[in-house]
């Protein structure tokens, strides 16, 4: 199988924030949702997803609490905090800027 494409640095945090902006979710759910929404293009290894979650937790953008999953398993659910929403907006804007710049180079170079 072809290796999943590398994300731009910092992009995973942005995607995680975006996914959690809709509803609270556990780690596995986030990975699944990312895969679904990107039509299977973006697959995140757990080895980068969990550090990302811990990073966002550490910086106060997320909160975590244990709850019961769909199958009645104990799962850790992540919720976006107020700071997280602000961060999402800021990172989104920054990302759009970067993508626009890249596109511009691609088109005009």
């Amino acid at each position: 199988m072809r290796q999943p494409p590398d994300l731009l640095p910092g992009t995973l945090d942005l995607l995680v924030l975006r996914i959690l902006a809709r509803e609270r979710m556990h780690g596995y759910g986030i990975a699944q949702r990312l895969k679904e929404l990107s039509d299977d293009v973006l697959r995140v290894g757990e080895s980068s997803l969990y550090p990302s979650l811990q990073r966002l937790l550490r910086d106060g953008f997320l909160e975590a609490e244990w709850g019961a999953s769909e199958n009645n398993r104990r799962a850790r659910y992540y919720t976006l905090t107020r700071d997280g929403r602000k961060q999402l907006a800021a990172e989104r804007e920054e990302f759009d800027g970067i993508v626009a710049a890249i596109q511009q180079v691609l088109r005009t170079a």
């Binding site: 556990h26 757990e46 080895s47 980068s48 969990y50 811990q54 244990w66």
Partner: protein, 191 residues
Amino acid sequence: MTGWLRRLRARIRYRHFDRDLVEELETHRAMKERELVSTGLAPDEARRQARRDLGNVMLAGEDARAVWIAPWLESIGQDVRHAVRSFRRDRAFTITTVLTLAIGIGATTSTYSIVDGTLFKPLPYDNPERVVMLMSRNSQTGNLAESLGGSEAATLHRFGSLFRSGSSTFSCPSCPPRCASSGISPLMPGC
């Protein structure tokens, strides 16, 4: 709560924090396994693949932990715990080592203090370079006399104190500036 406060809390409640992480990763693995089974994979194969997909659970945990706690700090903690445990296991060795070190360091330190105090440091009063040591020697036998003779003691007493100037001459407040010391007998003739 600021970043370092959250980190500190993670550090203090480390066991709790670690348990959460391990359990979370295990939950993830189990969910994945379940999904793989539902796609028709044999349970054994599903388990194996779920484990493989999670990368190495331990490694994922390490990476996630490293976000909070500098890994080198954690490994110092481990080293210290390991050292303490080994010391406890082998008492005789520990005591020998500690004593050897203690005596070695103690001896070196006191030797240094003595040498420093007697040879290197100036004496702890004004004009230490002018202090002199007086000795009285019997001119016939060359033996050191046990005490100063009466007249010498009287002279000393009269001057109260004596000062040395130069390496081989004496002077005192009311003396002629320099008296040759080589021939002093009795103490400072002509002073």
